[in-house]
């Protein structure tokens, strides 16, 4: 693991990175509040502690040309790619007007205009799909970088292996970030795999691999910029393992009693949002007070969007009884 020294980002970029991280953080705050009010729908998957990964990685993409396949702890990437709060909340709450018409929820939606393609629950299933998305453009002579994610647990799924090997053989511009947050549900790293770094798998696919501190947003960003460059040069996929800690339960129903307290305390010191606030304050890029104001504003916006979404009715029942096939759909 290497640590970033001087900033690779302009002050504007730094402020933007912080803003997206705060959005990711306050999204969690807002959803947690909703969960406690009993108004959330479906599992609430916190990304507390993972903000630097989802924001720093997506931020390295060209969002007009590249494409993002986020997983369940990557809400930050949705913001980076320009998703509106309203749309996000409608999808999460499966309300009328959501892009998925209530057929599915959480971050599973796709928004082709914004170049965001959500996940399915089956871990790893979207990695070959992301590879194929880039393959299509490769056939057209275009380089479209696909960025996607998998957990330290999900990395053991067979499809991950097939997709990485396939992408490397075809030198596809795919970036896979293995978000090692120490646990897969209740299962610690030690019971999930026996290698030292999950990026050690890269050599077995003949691709570039690296393990980095996932709490350092600029390091994540810089590492991903390198990976994006490599992909654009036609040098194929990159595997990046980010080390973080899942600071809450698997989902909010889980009290994560199985996580040693000391581990949480130790990682709390490396909180990606707090450390970045402190850093920008020190660098005089943004003061602590400004950050606090920004943060409060963001949370207020989130809650307002949630309230608007909650005012929406559930989708009409008939939405469930159509569109199983495109041929039933207008223009299908």
């Amino acid at each position: 693991m290497t640590k970033s020294k001087a900033s690779v980002c302009t002050p504007d970029q730094q402020r933007e990175l912080l803003r997206f991280m705060l959005m990711a953080r306050e999204f969690d705050t807002a959803m947690l509040r909703l969960y406690r009010q009993g108004k959330a729908f479906g599992g609430v998957y916190s990304q507390l502690g993972n903000e630097a990964v989802s924001v720093g990685s997506a931020y390295a993409l060209d969002r007009r040309n590249d494409v993002l396949f986020p997983m369940h702890r990557n809400i930050g990437g949705h913001f980076v790619f320009g998703q509106s709060l309203d749309q996000l909340m409608l999808n999460h709450l499966a309300r009328n007007g959501s892009q998925m018409r209530g057929t599915d929820g959480t971050g599973h939606y796709a928004d082709p205009a914004l170049r965001i393609y959500g996940n399915v629950s089956h871990l790893g299933a979207m990695i070959p799909v992301a590879a194929g998305f880039s393959l299509a453009d490769k056939l057209r002579g275009i380089t479209t970088v696909s960025m996607t994610y998998i957990g330290d647990g999900g990395a053991q799924v067979g499809e991950v292996h097939e997709a990485l090997n396939f992408a490397s053989v075809h030198k596809l511009p795919l970036i896979l970030i293995i978000e090692n947050n120490q646990y897969a549900y209740s299962t610690p790293n030690s019971m999930e795999f026996a290698c030292e770094n999950l990026s050690d798998r890269a050599i077995g696919y003949g691709m570039h691999g690296v393990t980095i501190d996932g709490t350092d947003v600029e390091l994540v960003y810089a590492t991903c910029v390198e990976a994006v460059d490599r992909a654009r040069r036609g040098d194929g996929p990159t595997l990046i393992e980010t080390r973080t800690m899942r600071m809450r339960g698997h989902a909010e129903h889980d009290d994560f009693a199985y996580v040693p307290k000391e581990l949480l305390e130790q990682w709390a010191k490396k909180d990606p949002v707090e450390t970045y606030i402190a850093l920008l304050d020190k660098r005089k890029v943004m003061s602590r007070d400004e950050a606090t104001v920004l943060r409060e504003q963001i949370l207020a916006d989130m809650i307002a969007a949630i309230d608007r979404a909650l005012e929406q009715p559930w989708p009409n029942a008939e939405e469930g009884l159509k569109n199983v096939f495109m041929s039933e759909q207008v223009g299908g």
Partner: protein, 323 residues
């Protein structure tokens, strides 16, 4: 003893593990955490990590390892955290487990089990009812209990069976359905239907959550003077055709119900057999009540519209009875 459906399944496994050292469990988060639905709560303490094996997220490896252990004389129980994820280990089940007895005459005594079904606001990937795939695969037994006592007895029978069994637990019944369950060793043999309600006007053939839907419908219709017989087939493979036909010959009418999507579901098989083998006894066409042919949607309004329910079933029974 009064137990929930979930407790009954756990009880069966516990009893079998106590009496047979060759039984062990393998799955994701089943150890210290006790499983996503807490079905194996306390198991790690009682049986230790050698027999309650927490596995990586690798459904093919989990099912494959269970097959290998079964070939080597053990009786593994593999948990799918949600039955939906069996699609990731599908090849192991249908290609390896389902063909071994036929090809090798070696027993593969294993159970693949987990929560299936919808109606609880999960999403399209946590709600599937996929039992028909395994019925059609050949070489796999398929069990779908509806009540706590059956869940216990059928689980015990599945563990003791020398063939691979795919055991579908309906997650909506886990804590909702309670009932008297015999203590200690208790076996309900595979392949025997259970007449859950005697009636004379129409037979409802169902399994899993649809049995409760049928009970609800029967209660509604009772007031209207329609007396419904409900046959819970309990196991799809082996299928107790005789009991089903006997009921239909008695009532002269049949409605088949399941929660899985209608098309190419097991209900088609049941209806086809009734229509063929009870042809002369039928006073009305055999109708089916099942889910709309779509993924199970997330929003409650949509899910309610897609899944079958007691009203639709009652309506269908009425139509059949007034045919």
């Amino acid at each position: 003893m009064i137990m929930t459906y979930l407790e009954a399944i756990a009880d069966a496994i516990r009893v079998e593990m106590r009496t047979d050292k060759s039984v062990f469990m393998i799955g994701e988060d089943i150890g210290a955490y006790g499983g996503a639905f807490k079905l194996t709560k306390g198991f790690l303490d009682e049986f230790g990590p050698q027999r309650i094996i927490d596995a990586p997220i690798s459904e093919s490896a989990i099912i494959g390892a269970a097959i290998g252990a079964a070939l080597n004389g053990m009786r593994p129980i593999a948990e799918m955290q949600f039955m939906d994820f069996v699609t990731n280990g599908f090849n192991q089940l249908v290609t390896v487990a389902g063909t071994t007895a036929y090809r090798w005459s070696i027993p593969v005594p294993m159970v693949v089990r987990g929560p299936s079904g919808g109606g609880v606001g999960a999403n399209p990937f946590h709600s599937r009812n996929s039992e028909a795939w395994f019925v059609h695969a050949t070489g796999l037994k398929v069990v779908c209990p509806a009540f706590p006592d059956d869940a216990k007895g059928l689980m015990a029978a599945s563990i003791r069976d020398n063939d691979p069994v795919v055991f579908f637990e309906h997650k909506g019944l886990y804590r909702k359905i309670k009932g008297e369950v015999p203590e200690g060793e208790y076996i309900v043999p595979l392949g025997k239907a259970r007449t859950v309600r005697e009636g004379k006007h129409c037979s409802v053939i169902a399994y899993g959550s649809a049995v409760h839907m049928a009970l609800e419908a029967a209660a509604m219709l009772e007031k209207e003077g329609i007396d419904v017989e409900i046959v819970d087939i309990r196991t799809l493979v082996p299928f107790d055709e005789d009991s089903v036909l006997a009921s239909v010959r008695k009532t002269g009418r049949a409605v088949v119900a399941h929660e899985a999507v209608m098309t190419a579901g097991f209900g088609g098989e049941i209806a086809a057999r009734i229509a063929d083998k009870a042809f002369q006894w039928l006073d009305a066409p055999v109708k089916r009540v099942a889910a709309f042919d779509s993924p199970t949607p997330f929003a409650p309004t949509l899910e309610k519209a897609v899944l079958p329910n007691a009203e639709v079933l009652a309506h269908t029974i009425r139509r059949v009875c007034s045919f």
